[in-house]
C-alpha cells in the first residue's frame, strides 16, 4: 500500500537485546515502522513481544541496541520520553479512571491542575475534532464506568491521539470486542494511517493481522524469524512461521450427542458490581457434545462458570447432575461429581505460582487416597502421578519439583489439563482454555477437548474468540447481560448473525434486564 522503501521511518528498533539471567527475551531484534503503516507483531506467548514493547515504552532498559523515534534515539528506561516523542500505547487492560468522565480521563495528566478550567473548552473542542476525524464516537461527558468495553477502548485511543501520538501501539486490541466493534476499530485504524499515523498491532488472531496489517514481523524465541508483506502471504504461512513448523488445526468431526449430563433450570445469580449475574438461565450440557458459549467478555460468562465450578450457589433455580438435583454445592462437590474445571485465569486461579508441579498437580485430589491417607501425604505417589502427567501431556519442564511460575503459559495449561482430565471426567468446563497460548498449545488443548468429547464427555467451551467457538462447538449459545440465547446448531449461524446476538439483540422481550 504505502511505498515502504521511500516513506519516512518513524520508529526504528535497532538490534535490541534483553536478557533475564540465562533467558534471552529479545535477541538483536530490529524493526522499522514507516509513516502511515500498520505493522503486526506476531508471535507465540513468550516469544518476546511484551518485552520488546516494554523496552520501546521505557519500562525496561535494553542490554544492547537502541530505540529511534523520528530519527532521534530515545533515552533508555524513560517512559515519559517515549510519550513526549509521540508514542502512544493502548494496553490490553485499560488504564482509565472509572469515576471520571471521558473528557477528564483524556486530559488527565496533560495539564497543570490550576489551569484545568480554562483549558477545558479547548480540550472539549479538540476531543470533538478527534472523535469526528477518526470515527471515535463517544460522549465526552459520559462517566467511563458506564461505557462498554468497546467505548473504553475508543477513549484509550482518544487519549493517545490527544497527546499527539504519531505512533500507536495496540496490545491485543480485539480480544474484548464483538466482530462489529472490531470492524469499527479497524475503520478507525485505517483512518489513522491515512492521516499519517503509524501503528504496531499485536495480535494472536491471524485473520485480523491479514486484514489490517501491511507488514507482519514474526518473533520466535526472542528473534525475528520472518518479516512478510501481508499482500504476499497467507494465514497458513504466518502460522507456520510463528511456530516453526507447518501446523494444522485439528479436524473437527461432528459429535454424537447423548443424554444431558448437567442441566441448569431457571438459574439466577446476583449481579457483581458492573458484571451481570445470570438471569433465569436454562442450559443443558449433553454427553458427547461441545457446547460453545460465545459472548463479549463480562456478560455473565464468569457467573455461569462459577456456578458450574462450584464457586457460587444460585440465588434461585436448580442445578441437576445426571438428573439429580445438587443440594450441597461447592468446588469439591463439583470435582467429586466428575466436573473437570479449566479456569479462566490459570495464573491466579488455576495454579499456585510458588508451588511445585507436583503440589499443583494434586490440588484437587490431595485429600483422599492414593495422594494421602488419614491426613498423611504420600509424596512419592504424588510425584509419580505428576511424572505421568508430565509425560502424558508433554510438559516441558526441568522436573516435578520445579516451581510452576517458571513454566510458560502453554505448559502450565497442560498441567491443568492433566490434573483434570486424568480422572476421565464426565463434564468439562473449559473457560477461555487457550487464551494467551501459542498456536501449537492451542491445537493441543483443542485436540484434548475433542478427544474427551469423543469418549462421551459433555464439554462447555467458553471463549471470547468466535472463531474458536465456531470451529469446535457442536451447538452454540450466545450470552449477553446474563441472558442465554437459544441453541444454534453447528453451521447454522454466520459470525455476523452471532455478532448481532452478542450485541444484545434478539433476546426475548420481558426477560429482566440488568439495570
Amino acid at each position: 500500500m504505502t511505498g515502504a522503501d521511500t516513506a519516512q521511518v518513524v520508529l526504528r528498533l535497532d538490534r535490541i537485546t534483553k536478557r533475564f539471567g540465562a533467558l534471552t527475551a529479545n535477541d538483536a531484534v530490529s524493526l522499522d515502522l514507516h509513516r502511515g503503516e500498520v505493522v503486526a507483531l506476531l508471535g507465540e506467548n513468550g516469544a518476546g513481544k511484551t518485552t520488546l514493547m516494554n523496552i520501546l515504552f521505557g519500562q525496561y532498559t535494553a542490554d544492547e541496541g537502541q530505540v529511534m523515534v523520528m530519527g532521534q534515539a530515545l533515552p533508555p528506561g524513560n517512559p515519559r520520553a517515549a510519550l513526549e516523542a509521540g508514542v502512544g500505547m493502548v494496553h490490553q487492560h485499560f488504564t482509565l479512571a472509572d469515576n471520571l468522565t471521558v473528557l477528564e480521563n483524556v486530559t488527565l495528566g496533560t495539564e497543570p491542575l490550576w489551569r484545568w478550567r480554562s483549558e477545558r473548552a479547548a480540550a472539549r473542542t479538540k476531543i470533538a475534532r478527534l472523535s469526528a476525524d477518526f470515527h471515535l464516537a463517544v460522549d465526552p461527558d459520559a462517566r467511563v464506568g458506564s461505557l462498554t468495553v468497546g467505548e473504553r477502548q475508543r477513549v484509550e485511543i482518544l487519549k493517545a491521539l490527544y497527546r499527539e501520538a504519531r505512533i500507536l501501539i495496540l496490545d491485543e486490541p480485539t480480544a474484548v470486542l464483538t466482530p462489529q466493534e472490531t470492524d469499527d476499530l479497524f475503520a478507525t485504524l485505517r483512518e489513522a494511517v491515512a492521516k499519517g499515523l503509524s501503528i504496531v498491532f499485536i495480535s494472536h488472531k491471524l485473520h485480523e493481522v491479514m486484514d489490517i496489517a501491511h507488514r507482519v514481523v514474526i518473533l520466535r524465541h526472542g528473534k525475528v524469524v520472518a518479516e512478510m508483506e501481508t499482500a504476499n502471504t497467507d494465514r497458513h504461512a504466518l502460522a507456520a512461521a510463528m511456530v516453526g513448523s507447518d501446523v494444522s488445526a485439528p479436524r473437527v468431526a461432528p459429535g454424537t450427542p447423548g443424554a444431558p449430563l448437567l442441566q441448569l433450570h431457571a438459574v439466577t445469580t446476583a449481579d457483581r458490581g458492573s458484571a451481570p449475574g445470570l438471569k433465569s438461565l436454562n442450559l443443558a450440557l449433553r454427553a458427547g457434545q461441545i457446547t460453545g458459549l460465545a459472548g463479549v467478555s463480562g456478560n455473565g460468562q464468569a457467573a455461569l462458570a462459577d456456578v458450574i465450578a462450584g464457586l457460587s450457589i444460585p440465588a434461585s433455580g436448580r442445578l441437576d447432575l445426571g438428573g439429580a438435583e445438587m443440594a450441597q454445592w461447592s468446588p469439591r462437590a463439583a470435582v467429586e461429581h466428575g466436573i473437570a474445571r479449566i479456569p479462566e485465569d490459570r495464573h491466579k486461579t488455576g495454579t499456585i505460582a510458588d508451588f511445585s508441579l507436583t503440589e499443583n498437580a494434586i490440588l484437587e485430589s490431595y485429600h483422599k487416597p492414593p495422594m494421602s491417607r488419614a491426613g498423611w501425604m504420600s509424596w512419592p505417589r504424588a510425584e509419580a502421578e505428576t511424572q505421568a502427567i508430565i509425560k502424558g501431556y508433554d510438559i516441558r519442564c526441568p522436573g516435578p519439583d520445579t516451581r510452576i511460575r517458571l513454566l510458560s503459559g502453554g505448559n502450565m495449561q497442560k498441567l491443568i489439563l492433566g490434573r483434570v482430565l486424568e480422572a476421565n471426567p464426565r463434564i468439562i468446563l473449559a473457560n477461555q482454555p487457550v487464551r494467551g497460548l501459542d498456536i501449537g498449545a492451542v491445537n493441543y488443548v483443542h485436540e484434548q477437548l475433542l478427544k474427551a468429547r469423543d469418549r462421551g464427555a459433555a464439554v462447555l467451551l467458553i471463549s471470547e474468540d468466535l472463531d474458536e467457538i465456531m470451529a469446535l462447538s457442536d451447538v452454540i449459545h450466545v450470552m449477553s447481560e446474563g441472558r442465554l440465547s437459544p441453541e444454534f446448531a453447528r453451521g447454522t449461524m454466520t459470525p455476523a448473525e452471532l455478532g448481532v446476538w452478542m450485541a444484545g439483540h434478539g433476546f426475548e422481550a420481558g426477560v429482566a434486564h440488568a439495570s
Partner: protein, 349 residues
C-alpha cells in the same frame, strides 16, 4: 530506581545479602557502642561472651530462647497461611493463666498426670483466645491484625484484674502475683544441676512436629496453599475457612505453651511481668526464620543470645541494654531488605 524480579537468582545472590545484613547490624551496634563511649570491640566481645562464653551463659541463652521458640512457631504457623496473628502475647498469658489456675493445688495429681494436663489445657486456652478473631475474620471479614493486636491489651488487663482479685496470693505481701505452683506442676530440669528445664526440649519437639505437619500432612499442604494463593486454593476445593480456623487453633496453642513453660519451668507463679514481650519478639523470630519451623529454633537462639549477651555486657561496661533492642530491630529490617534483594535487583532509571 525500580525493582526488577530475578528469574533464577545465583547462589551468591541468595546467600550474600543475609550475610551482609548481619554484618551491617554488627556495624550499627558498634557505632552505637562508640556513641555510648565504649570500645565497640569490647562491647561486641562482651555480648558474645555473655551469650555463649560459659556454660552458665549458654544455659541462660537456651532458657531465654525457649519461650521465643514457642511464640516464633505460633507466628510462623499463622503467617504461613497468611493469618496475621499479632496476639501471641495474649495467647501466652492464656496458657500461663490456665497453668496457675490448675497447677496451684486444684488438681492434686502426680507430675506424670498433671504436666500433660497442663500442656493440653494451656494449649486449648491459647487456641480459644485466637479462635475468636479467626471466626470474626472468616465470618465477617474483620481484620485479624487489629483484633489480635488490641486483644493483647485487653487480656493483659484481665490478668491484672485476676491478680489483684481472685488469683492474688494471700501470702504475697500485697504484690499482684499468683500463688506458687505445687511441686508436681513444675517442669523438672533436663539434667540435674544444670539450669535448663524440660520446656526447652518441649520447644524443640514442637518445632519438629510443626515441620512434620507442614511438610507431611494434608493440613500442612492446605495451610501452605491457602497462604500462597487463597483464590486458587478455594477454586481447587480446599476448605479455606476451615483451614484458617485450624491454623488459628494450632498457632494459639503453640503461643500458650510459651506461657506454660515460663510459669512451670522458670517463674513458678504468674505475675504481670511474666513476658517482656515474648509474643511480639516471636514475630521477629518468625520473620528472621523465613517462617521455617526449624529456622525458628536458630532465630530464637540468635535473638535470645543478643538479649542475654547485652544484659551481661551492660553490667560490665554500662552501655544500656537498649542496644539489644536496636540490634534486633536493625537485624530484622536489614534481613527483610536482604530477602527482597535475593529476589529482585535494583535498576536505575
Amino acid at each position: 530506581m525500580r525493582l526488577e524480579p530475578i528469574a533464577n537468582p545465583s547462589l551468591a545472590r541468595s546467600t550474600l545479602p543475609p550475610v551482609l545484613a548481619i554484618a551491617a547490624t554488627v556495624i550499627v551496634a558498634s557505632l552505637l557502642a562508640m556513641l555510648a563511649g565504649a570500645n565497640p570491640f569490647a562491647v561486641l566481645g562482651l555480648i558474645l561472651k555473655g551469650a555463649a562464653g560459659s556454660k552458665f551463659a549458654v544455659l541462660e541463652t537456651l532458657n531465654r530462647a525457649t519461650p521465643l521458640i514457642f511464640t516464633g512457631l505460633a507466628v510462623a504457623v499463622a503467617f504461613r497461611a497468611r493469618l496475621w496473628n499479632i496476639g501471641a502475647e495474649a495467647q501466652l498469658y492464656a496458657g500461663a493463666l490456665m497453668t496457675v489456675v490448675l497447677g496451684t493445688g486444684a488438681l492434686p495429681w502426680s507430675a506424670t498426670a498433671l504436666l500433660p494436663t497442663l500442656v493440653l489445657v494451656s494449649m486449648l486456652a491459647g487456641a480459644a483466645v485466637l479462635l475468636v478473631p479467626a471466626l470474626l475474620k472468616v465470618r465477617f471479614g474483620v481484620d485479624e491484625v487489629v483484633t489480635t493486636l488490641l486483644f493483647n491489651f485487653i487480656f493483659l488487663l484481665f490478668i491484672s484484674l485476676l491478680l489483684e482479685g481472685p488469683l492474688k496470693d494471700p501470702m504475697g505481701m500485697g504484690w499482684p502475683k499468683s500463688e506458687r505452683l505445687i511441686a508436681e506442676a513444675r517442669l523438672p530440669r533436663i539434667v540435674e544441676g544444670l539450669r535448663l528445664h524440660w520446656g526447652f526440649a518441649l520447644a524443640l519437639i514442637s518445632a519438629a512436629l510443626v515441620w512434620v505437619i507442614q511438610r507431611r500432612t494434608t493440613l500442612g499442604y492446605e495451610m501452605r496453599a491457602v497462604g500462597l494463593n487463597r483464590e486458587a486454593a478455594r477454586f481447587a476445593g480446599i476448605p479455606v475457612n476451615a483451614v484458617l480456623i485450624k491454623t488459628a487453633l494450632l498457632s494459639g496453642g503453640l503461643a500458650a505453651l510459651a506461657g506454660f513453660s515460663e510459669v512451670a519451668g522458670v517463674k513458678g507463679s504468674l505475675t504481670l511481668d511474666l513476658s517482656p514481650g515474648f509474643g511480639y519478639t516471636g514475630i521477629i523470630v518468625a520473620m528472621l526464620a523465613l517462617l521455617n519451623p526449624l529456622g525458628v529454633i536458630a532465630a530464637a537462639l540468635f535473638v535470645a543470645g543478643i538479649f542475654v549477651g547485652a544484659d551481661s555486657m551492660s553490667r560490665a561496661v554500662g552501655v544500656p541494654t537498649y542496644l539489644a533492642d536496636i540490634m534486633l530491630a536493625t537485624a530484622l529490617l536489614l534481613m527483610v531488605l536482604a530477602i527482597l534483594l535475593t529476589r529482585f535487583r535494583v535498576v536505575r532509571e
